[in-house]
């Protein structure tokens, strides 16, 4: 029996780039300019990072009262500890706080579930509608033995999440109609859609919020009033519909003409063609940019504080006005900054992952 020669596994060349030192040389010190840059950055980090770590961790006060905080040099996380429930849930009645807590939990579960592509089934949309309705009932109360809580008392994270998701869910069908309208062959339909989209995209969100808060009451029949939260929500829906419409239009434009022509050849009507052939393809193409639009909407909810709603940013800002706990703005802003960041960063990553994944699995049209 002859032994068959076995190929040796290829070994990496031991050149100047090998090992940790080689990596350093290749990535940080490969030229005079880069060496200088590296040294400058390291020096900057050495100046900034240690005090930051000392402030945030080593010298920080985890619990105690304001006096203990003032005695220390570091961050006063005791302030967050003290104000946590107010920052997260606003002025919601104290004995009922499990309700907004549960709402936030349901939101997180629903959002997480929706991120799993295996669960993108037909029941997901009704599940969201039921979920949002259920959360609304849970917040408002007045049924099932839950004490009623006026929506002027709602605040914090549930409000922020609610404004963003309800805005997205309601604006979505409107934006599909707008996107179809903008590509319609009927000149009047197209004109109105273009006017709507461009007008809203051309003005700041604040002006829409002002419109909803000070102008809308003037346009309703005398005696009819809509509360502040609903008006802000309406402004938000208008805003979202224009931006979503442009995203969806991008998807519609990417569908090859042959798809529509094939549908025409089969004798499908306009709506049959759109609902059965074009929209399913177009919408699945634009899921990543839709997630990005949702991130934008989520961040933009912070603007509602301008018209006096207690969203997450406003509750944090209000917690600063407690005379006993004055001056801990860094802690408050860092804390809610982390909340906003975690949501947005997660969804941004998810969107990028989705984009790579969908491209991978999509068959050429």
């Amino acid at each position: 029996m002859t032994e068959r020669p076995v190929a040796l596994p290829p070994s990496r060349p031991r050149g100047p780039d090998a090992g940790a030192l080689g990596w350093l040389r290749a990535n940080l010190f490969n030229s005079w300019g880069n060496t200088l840059l590296t040294v400058l950055i390291l020096w900057g980090l050495a100046v900034i990072l240690p005090p930051l770590v000392r402030w945030g961790f080593l010298d920080s006060v985890m619990s105690g009262d304001a006096a203990a905080c003032r005695a220390a040099d570091g961050a006063c996380w005791a302030f967050i500890h003290e104000k946590l429930l107010f920052i997260l849930f606003g002025t919601y009645p104290h004995d009922q706080l499990w309700r907004p807590g549960l709402v936030v939990l349901v939101f997180i579960v629903l959002l997480t579930v929706s991120c799993d592509r295996r669960l993108w089934r037909h029941w997901l949309a009704p599940l969201w509608l039921v979920g949002l309705g259920g959360m609304g009932v849970l917040m408002a109360g007045g049924v099932l033995g839950l004490p009623a809580v006026e929506d002027s008392l709602w605040g914090g994270l549930p409000l922020t999440l609610g404004l963003a998701t309800v805005g997205l869910v309601v604006a979505f069908p409107i934006s599909i109609l707008l996107a179809l309208g903008r590509r319609s062959t009927l000149p009047l339909v197209r004109g109105l859609s273009v006017a709507w989209i461009e007008l809203i995209r051309g003005v700041p969100l604040i002006s829409l919020l002002f419109m909803a808060s000070v102008m809308l009451p003037l346009f309703l029949p005398t005696g009819v009033t809509i509360d502040k939260l609903l008006r802000a929500q309406v402004a938000f829906i208008l805003f979202a519909s224009a931006y979503l419409a442009e995203v969806i239009r991008g998807g519609l434009q990417a569908i090859p003409k042959g798809q529509g022509e094939a549908a025409d050849a089969l004798g499908l009507g306009y709506w049959q063609k759109m609902v059965a052939i074009i929209l399913p393809q177009a919408l699945s193409l634009v899921i990543p940019p839709l997630v990005n639009t949702f991130i934008g909407l989520f961040k933009d909810t912070s603007l509602v504080l301008v018209i006096g709603l207690f969203d997450l940013l406003r509750t944090a800002k209000s917690s600063l006005s407690d005379p006993f706990w004055h001056g801990f703005y860094r802690e408050a802003y860092v804390f809610i900054g982390i909340i906003y960041f975690s949501f947005c960063f997660f969804f941004a990553r998810y969107s990028r992952w989705l984009e790579a994944n969908i491209k991978h699995s999509q068959k050429p049209l």
Binding site: N27, L28, N30, N34, L37, T38, I41, L42, L186, P187, L188, V189, L192, L199, G202, V203, P204, L205, I206, S207, F210, M211, V214, M215, P217, L218, F219, L220, P221, T222, I295, K299, D300, S302, L303, L305, V306, L313, K317, G327, Y329, R330, Y333, I336, G337, Y340, F341, C344, F345, A348
Partner: protein, 361 residues
């Protein structure tokens, strides 16, 4: 056709119903209509004025002051954010691992936190963490940074500066006319020296004034020089840093989209890295960068309306006060929207013109 008629009918019906309601409400609340309020005295102080202003001025002048404030923060912001964004965008692609990481951390951190939160943080840092005017930081001679804002020296008022401005504008107009007439612009060196020469002449004609208006402590605050308020600084800083994170990504993807073969060919020709960037990559990348960059510029201008939340008297916050005082919400909101639509259309037109020039022909 039937659909269109129905749709238009519905829209007209809706608008008519809203208008009828509005007229009814206005009559009941005895709220005035029309823009007559613009000439009435406003009775409120606008915190910062680029043109002389006081509480006795009309609403119209207050509006103008607010508009100038918006343009001030927008104009400075656009330039700074483009520079910073380009720098960070190049940093994202740096061959230096540390620089690329740092740029990435900046972009992710800034992009994923609401702008309004960043504005509040900057405002709080400026007004609460900086020392008072008496202990003001002075990073450069005669430049003072305190919780009252940033004070820098300015050229002392003199008629010379006005005539320099007029001379520069006149030369630019002449250059444009000559360019149109010759069907191509003058060589940059010649045009530049003409501009500088005219400005120098105008300056010399007034006796070459060099006096500086230097900020100095007077009582509890600084007098003289040019002052940037904490509100302005917070808004500018927030807008510039936030928008730069988005611009950085645009610049990065624009540069990445240039075929690597171009760089290799340039390197084979013996061009230095700096020249490759300037002569080969940037001219090609710009074509891809300019359209999305325009929309980021528009975003910055629209986001400058957040000024109202930190008390910088931009056009939105002046009109907000006007609405509260006069009750004329429809006119006020219409003016806000009108201002931003006009600004948007103007900037889009300018950028489209620039975009058309740099595209391949």
């Amino acid at each position: 056709m039937a659909i269109q008629v129905l749709l238009v009918g519905a829209v007209i019906g809706l608008v008519g119903w809203l208008a009828a309601n509005a007229l009814d409400n206005l009559a009941r609340g005895s709220i005035a209509t029309g823009f007559g309020f613009l000439s009435r005295p406003s009775n409120f102080e606008v915190g910062e004025c680029l043109i002389p202003c006081s509480a006795a001025d009309s609403y119209g002048r207050a509006f103008l002051v607010g508009l100038l404030n918006t343009l001030k923060v927008g104009g400075i912001g656009l330039v700074l954010t483009t520079l910073l964004g380009t720098l960070i965008g190049i940093g994202l692609l740096s061959s230096n691992w540390l620089a690329a990481r740092l740029a990435r951390v900046y972009v992710e951190l800034v992009r994923n936190v609401p702008l309004l939160l960043q504005l509040f943080l900057w405002y709080a840092v400026i007004t609460e963490a900086l020392p008072g005017p008496r202990q003001a930081l002075s990073p450069l001679p005669n430049v003072f940074l305190s919780n009252r804002g940033l004070m820098v020296p300015m050229l002392a008022a003199s008629p010379a500066w006005l005539s320099v401005g007029i001379a520069v504008i006149a030369v630019v107009v002449i250059l444009l006319i000559i360019g149109r007439w010759r069907r191509r612009p003058l060589p940059p060196l010649m045009a530049g020296s003409l501009l500088v020469g005219a400005a120098l002449l105008a300056w010399l004609a007034w006796g070459a004034p060099t006096a500086l208006d230097v900020p100095h402590l007077a009582g509890f605050n600084f007098r003289g020089g040019m002052a940037f308020s904490p509100e302005f600084l917070a808004l500018l800083l927030g807008l510039v840093m936030y928008t730069a994170a988005f611009i950085a990504e645009i610049v990065r993807s624009g540069i990445l989209a240039v075929d690597p073969g171009q760089t290799e060919a340039a390197r084979a020709l013996g061009l230095s890295p700096g020249l490759i960037l300037r002569l080969v990559i940037l001219p090609q990348a710009l074509r891809l960068i300019v359209p999305p960059l325009t929309s980021q510029h528009l975003n910055l201008l629209k986001n400058s309306s957040l000024a109202v939340a930190i008390g910088y008297p931009d056009v939105v916050s002046v009109l907000d006060t006007t609405i509260n005082q006069t009750g004329q919400a429809i006119e006020g909101v219409a003016m806000i929207m009108g201002v931003f639509l006009v600004i948007n259309l103007t900037l889009s037109a300018l950028m489209n013109w620039y975009n058309a020039r740099i595209q391949l022909r």
